[in-house]
Symmetry: C2
Subunit: 281 residues, 2 copies
């Protein structure tokens, strides 16, 4: 297996399985063909075309679109189509920071193939022996990707909070990182991918941050989402990413990007250029 395998696994999807999801004349997502008949049952809420599902243009405001879609999503929850209600709303936009067309419950986002945004933190410690990286293991009872390895801190980006505030909040909840340390995190780039999943399509963006931690800091989870933390030499983390699927799919990309930016994957690696390109598709 190779780093490129991990990247390829995050970019598997078949456009034929989807129709555009159109809001206010913009293609903001994609709906799986199999979901279309159910959406058609909502009457005037959706217009159904050969290549698109269009939210009724009569719903002309953020509030109107949001309230009608909330009704739809709740029905899909009753159908057990949408599972794992989060009680967290995501913005529906074409590009981060643009005024959103509406907001949707997080668990429904992939069903409408809407681009989700997240913050991911590479927490690391430098020592004479090189860089070691803090890695989390997701709780066994987490609804999504239980028991898998994860970045030290990572979280989805809800509507109504800045990226940095969200990062600092997640740092506190997931790893008990004090605000004054978390505030030193440096934004280092965005990773993009598009993956078909059981619950729909994930054409997502990961905003990545590096945070060098003091050698005497030990993370402690406070929200029950991380079962355990490990401080592993970077070479060991690299091997796990390259040779296994122990990390949650998209966390692999965050680690690979870190390995590139810190010279661990060297530029004469045969896949170097393909890796750099593959992280931003």
């Amino acid at each position: 297996m190779s780093f490129l395998d991990r990247i390829a696994e995050c970019n598997l999807w078949n456009p034929d399985n989807f129709r555009w999801f159109v809001v206010d004349g913009c293609r903001v997502g994609r709906v799986r063909q199999a979901l279309v008949p159910r959406l058609a049952e909502f009457g005037k809420v959706f217009g159904i075309e050969d290549d698109a599902v269009t939210l009724n243009p009569g719903l002309a405001t953020f509030a109107a679109r949001t309230s009608e879609m909330e009704r739809v999503v709740k029905a899909l929850v009753d159908d057990k189509i949408v599972e794992g209600w989060r009680g967290e709303n995501y913005a529906v936009t074409r590009s981060f920071g643009e005024p959103p067309f509406l907001q949707i419950e997080r668990a429904a986002i992939p069903h409408f193939g809407v681009r989700a945004f997240g913050v991911h933190l590479n927490g690391f410690v430098r020592s004479a022996g090189g860089i070691r990286m803090w890695i989390g293991r997701r709780a066994k009872d987490k609804h999504t990707y239980p028991d898998m390895l994860d970045n030290m801190v990572a979280g989805g980006q809800p509507i109504g909070i800045s990226l940095r505030d969200n990062l600092i909040k997640e740092c506190a909840e997931e790893a008990n990182i004090p605000r004054e340390i978390a505030a030193r995190a440096v934004s280092v780039g965005a990773i993009t991918y598009c993956m078909e999943a059981p619950d729909g399509l994930k054409p997502d963006v990961q905003f990545c941050y590096d945070l060098e931690l003091p050698a005497d800091f030990t993370p402690r989870n406070t929200d029950g989402e991380i079962a355990e933390f490990y401080l592993w030499p970077l070479e060991q983390v690299a091997e796990i990413v390259r040779d296994t699927r122990e990390f949650k799919f998209n966390c692999n990309l965050v680690v690979i990007d870190f390995l590139v930016r810190h010279g661990v994957i060297p530029p004469d690696h045969p896949d170097y250029v393909a890796i750099c390109q593959g992280l931003r598709r």
Copy 2:
């Protein structure tokens, strides 16, 4: 003007203006339509097809291809089609590090639209006031892009030398950086672009390095290629890149990548994702 303008300027080209350049069954480059009639005059050296110029498959070895192409390139120099002879050979390959099909004089590389590789160094100094970056100004008598701003150290990648050795050599020649300091440079990623230029097509790869320099180090050019060095606050460098065309075209991308990786262009910048994607096309 914007950072995206700089990226777009490095990615302007029209496929209709070119035919594939095929060696040993592989598309290794592109030849401008206008050059095709001249290549046809070399008789059996090239097969001319509607969409491709193919190097005679009878030239079955590195040595045979190299020697025949050397004859062609020398004729193109006599024609004043290939200008600015460098006396430096580049590998013709699909991917860096693969066994090359042949080698070609550097000045001829864009005429055959072959992917060129280069090393680019971000030399910077940290202080309480933030990061300052060393910037070079190219000599007025340099054949290519005279008098323009440049990365502290940058050089094309000739055949037969490793990336790191080339970087260390360029560090010595361009900025008099001692080997023990240059060796601390960290590889941080590759940038790719494809640009049509007067001399052909540049579908190139830039291998980027960061080097934090001691505050008391002052660069001094030793090979006559750089006229002057400046140590500028990163914000000033960012403004020049964003608002002017004072940098050599591809050096802008190296600086933009640095600004992203060091948090100077923040993730809530409206073009952030497009910038990250645009640097690796």
